[in-house]
């Protein structure tokens, strides 16, 4: 039968794709970590990692910022989720918007804006000094943790508020009827119900904190983590040490995998499917409690969105070269227009190309996974988890290791940047397509067949229109990730393939904050449009951003 052949071909192509873009790069990283600079097979890199204090520190620091970011995000995210889903908060939609802003802005913009406010020459610090209050600058581990907490809390917030909204109120009423106090009720009924969401949101925060490269680089001031070490070793002008960089990459992958396993283990028994007959209601608080709840929610929301607000304001400030002047002007935008058009163009072309690939391949493979269960699709599902645990910097290094020499040489091309984005985002699209397909009853297509449409036509006229809005929305969200990607592009770019996030990063390093802010604002505007379109197509669904 011809249909069987089509899907068999898709299956084979999928495996080829995974092999070339995933297994070869990961394999190359592994292999490279096992050879020294002279090409001798050795375990010396790992021994060096174990023996050198610098790497010990980086490893410990990674754990510190990872768990620090995790707990900060859990704290802020839980407070916000609890308040928004259980109390009447004025402007609740606005608060969610603030969380989305924090989520779609590139993390290094956060670092840079907090430097503007609380750095050595920070505005707020200067202001406070005038009042006689001397506060330390934000640099170092404290600053990183603040930025991570405020950057990653939306993961927890969106996950947990979704789960809290799904706890059947009858359960809490039943507990009340059995004589539990409100506190006991929260701890013994509601908490276990949202525990899987808490761990899932926490895991996202943790993985992103470990993978983040820009924030420790800009704010750390010598505070090294594994991601910065890997990049330094790779990018050093003198004494670039690829095999050590790959060794650290392997350790980063293993670390992320351990945390993914841990999260799965922790929430293994806690998946509840409640009926939603009795939906939770929001309580109207009175007096100081009401003020406190509002203050907490708005403080977290505004602080999280602060970087965005700051970069938008600063982008309109008058500048003289890299130095800010009093007053407002469009100079920074003029400089983008005249000098940085190619960077914007690069970002747009790469992202659009990557998203187009993601949507087409992701949809076809998603159909394969959902509808052709006879194939070994669970293995495929598992393979698609791999990019999830690979930090951007590792993907970058892995692609360099795989495609620098050998049969396929891609270094320095646009293709390598597009493909690195493609492989990281593909799993998401495959999973969402497959799950939306599984929600469409097969009898829908059968009905069309019984009415006289061939199976392929039935698929085209019934199933496709039903999943297209979701696919477009997913594509828009992939675009947001693609256009904001810094760490892998930073490893993979050459002069002619520079993207906006890379340029912003370099501008901040050069101290040219005005243009950086303007470029960030452009980036934000593009992301905002994409999120808006996504919500138009699938309804307002913040959780799809995760």
């Amino acid at each position: 039968m011809p249909r069987f052949n089509f899907w068999a071909v898709v299956m084979i192509l999928t495996w080829v794709l995974l092999f070339v873009l995933l297994f070869i790069p990961v394999g190359s990283v592994l292999v490279s970590s096992l050879f020294d600079q002279e090409g001798q097979l050795t375990g010396a890199n790992y021994l060096q990692f174990l023996s050198e204090p610098r790497f010990h520190r980086a490893f410990l620091n990674t754990l510190v910022v990872g768990f620090g970011g995790l707990f900060g995000a859990l704290l802020l995210g839980s407070i916000m989720a609890f308040c928004v889903s259980r109390f009447v908060i004025r402007g609740g939609k606005f608060v969610s918007l603030l969380a989305i802003l924090a989520l779609v802005s590139p993390p290094f913009i956060g670092a840079y804006s907090w430097i503007e406010l609380f750095g050595a020459g920070g505005v707020v610090r200067g202001f406070l000094r005038d009042w006689g209050i001397n506060m330390p600058p934000i640099y170092g581990v404290g600053g990183i943790l603040i930025v991570f907490s405020l950057k990653f809390y939306p993961y927890v917030y969106l996950m947990v508020s979704g789960a809290l909204g799904n706890v059947n109120r009858s359960l809490e009423e039943a507990a009340e009827g059995l004589g539990l106090t409100p506190w006991q009720r929260t701890m013994q009924i509601s908490f276990p119900m949202v525990f899987p969401a808490l761990t899932a949101g926490g895991l996202l925060a943790l993985i992103h904190a470990i993978a983040d490269f820009g924030t420790p680089r800009l704010l750390g001031r010598g505070y090294n983590v594994l991601a910065t070490e890997a990049f330094t070793l790779y990018a050093a002008e003198v004494g670039s040490n690829m095999s050590m960089a790959t060794t650290i990459s392997v350790i980063l992958i293993l670390l992320s995998m351990v945390f993914v396993m841990l999260q799965r283990y922790m929430s293994r028994r806690n998946v509840y499917h409640g009926n939603m007959i009795n939906k939770p209601i929001r309580i109207q608080l009175r007096g100081w409690r009401n003020v406190l709840a509002h203050a907490a929610v708005y403080l977290i929301g505004l602080c999280g969105a602060m970087p965005v607000i700051i970069s938008v304001i600063y982008s309109f400030r008058k500048t003289n070269g890299p130095v800010f002047q009093d007053g407002f002007a469009l100079q920074s935008y003029e400089r983008i227009l005249f000098n940085l058009g190619d960077v914007v163009r690069n970002s747009l072309t790469f992202s659009v190309a990557a998203v187009a690939l993601i949507v087409v391949v992701g949809t076809v493979v998603g159909v394969l996974v959902a509808r052709r269960t006879t194939f070994n699709t669970s293995l495929l599902d598992g393979a698609f988890m791999v990019p999830y645990v690979m930090p951007g910097i590792v993907i970058g290094i892995a692609f360099i290791a795989a495609f620098n020499t050998g049969p396929i040489v891609l270094t320095g091309t646009a293709a390598i940047i597009i493909l690195s984005i493609f492989i990281r985002r593909l799993p998401y699209t495959v999973r969402t397509t497959a799950s939306s397909l599984r929600q469409i009853s097969p009898s829908m297509e059968e009905a069309a067949v019984s009415l006289g449409y061939s199976p392929f036509q039935a698929f085209l006229r019934i199933t496709v229109p039903l999943i297209v809005p979701g696919i477009i929305a997913g594509g828009m969200l992939s675009f947001v990730t693609a256009i904001n990607e810094l760490s892998s592009s930073l490893v993979l770019y050459v002069g002619s393939t520079m993207t906006m996030p890379v340029r912003i990063y370099l501008l901040i390093l050069d101290g040219d904050f005005g243009v950086a802010a303007a470029l960030s604002t452009v980036l934000l505007l593009l992301s905002g449009c994409a999120v808006y379109l996504a919500f138009r197509f699938m309804g307002r669904n913040e959780q799809a951003l995760l």
Partner: protein, 351 residues
């Protein structure tokens, strides 16, 4: 030759499970034919084989004299109504119903009149331009019905169309389905596990069990004259007598005989109660004591402990005076033509 003929239909899933085991049925033009049985009995598999959604392992299906198995499902010209409605959520009610007319190259003006007629028939005329998502289950199934009928199919298949609806609506809609089917006169195969529904709606019923046919007949034949113990128990309820001297005595009194090893049973509504000692001559009497009385409005069920086992007696129109209390001594009256005998293989003896 019948309109639809199925001969020796066998369907095997995987290595072990046989869903259909040599099933042969024939359906006439305009007939309302119901496949009745518990879940897993093969009724849905048979229906889906007729629709073409799964192919038989072996056997023949012929519609109007031509082999149906070689025709791909979308060219079979068979309308189907689904348990989960399968209404297209992105199309309006009108477009849903018109969907099957488009590949048939029906002119636009004719589509308009035919769809409007079909929607009137299912009483959805006022809702043509609405999207089905917000509509009730009953309304969605009406769309499904109109959509399947409007193409004037050669055969109409319904796969438990009412099982997701609530009890009142189920009765209402099954009457409508019955009326519409008689009007358009399309041979219909209807799958259900609800015996009351099957009795109410069908011209003929085919009771299936474990991939085989137990009995085919009119509702009266199926209920009143079940040919196997399975049919008797699945359609209606059944008291089974425990063997022993009490049963033998009763059979002797009635002049009934059956081969050794036969099981005797009786339907509760064929029995009556009397005060002890006061029985007419033409019926056998089992003395017993009341163990439970259940009042159901238009009937009452009295559970009586007798020497021949626990027997349920159903009393029609129970008044206040019919109320029995636990422990009360009663006589169960068994008319001569009420008991049925089944052989060890479950087949009716002398039915």
């Amino acid at each position: 030759m019948s309109y639809l003929e199925i001969r020796n239909a066998t369907k095997q899933f995987g290595a072990g499970f046989i869903a259909l085991n040599g099933v042969s049925v024939a359906v006439e033009r305009g007939e309302f034919f119901t496949l009745l049985g518990p879940s897993g009995c093969g009724k849905t598999t048979l229906l889906r084989s007729i629709a073409g959604f799964n192919d038989l392992t072996s056997g023949e299906i012929a519609l109007d004299g031509s082999n149906l198995r070689i025709v791909p499902p979308h060219q079979r010209d068979i309308g189907m109504v689904f348990q989960d409605y399968a209404v297209f959520p992105h199309l309006t009610v009108f477009d849903n119903v018109a969907f099957g007319l488009k590949p048939r190259k029906v002119p636009a003006a004719e589509i308009k009149t035919r769809v409007t007629q079909a929607l009137e028939a299912v009483r959805l005329g006022a809702m043509a331009e609405r999207l089905p998502a917000a509509m009730s289950g009953g309304q969605q199934q009406r769309i499904g019905l109109a959509r399947a009928m409007v193409i004037n199919p050669r055969l109409l298949l319904m796969d438990e169309p009412l099982s997701n609806l609530d009890a009142k609506l189920r009765i209402e809609l099954r009457e409508e389905i019955r009326d519409i089917q008689k009007q358009v006169d399309i041979a219909t195969i209807y799958v259900t596990h609800d015996q009351e529904e099957a009795l109410a709606i069908s011209d003929r019923i085919c009771v299936m069990n474990a991939g085989r046919i137990e009995q085919v007949g009119t509702p009266q034949q199926i209920y009143g004259n079940p040919q196997t113990r399975f049919v008797a128990e699945f359609v209606g309820t059944l008291n089974v007598f425990s063997p022993g001297p009490a049963l033998d005595g009763m059979l002797g009194q009635l002049g009934l005989t059956a081969p050794a090893g036969a099981t005797w049973a009786v339907r509760p509504e064929r029995l009556d109660l009397a005060a002890r000692g006061g029985a007419p001559d033409s019926v056998a009497v089992l003395d017993g004591t009341v163990t439970k009385y259940t009042y159901l409005g238009r009937e009452a069920q009295v559970q009586v402990e007798t020497p021949a086992g626990l027997i349920v007696v159903q009393l029609a129109n129970p008044g206040i005076s019919a109320t029995r209390s636990t422990g009360e001594a009663v006589a169960v009256l068994v008319p001569r033509d009420a008991p049925m005998a089944f052989g060890a293989d479950g087949v009716r003896i002398g039915g």
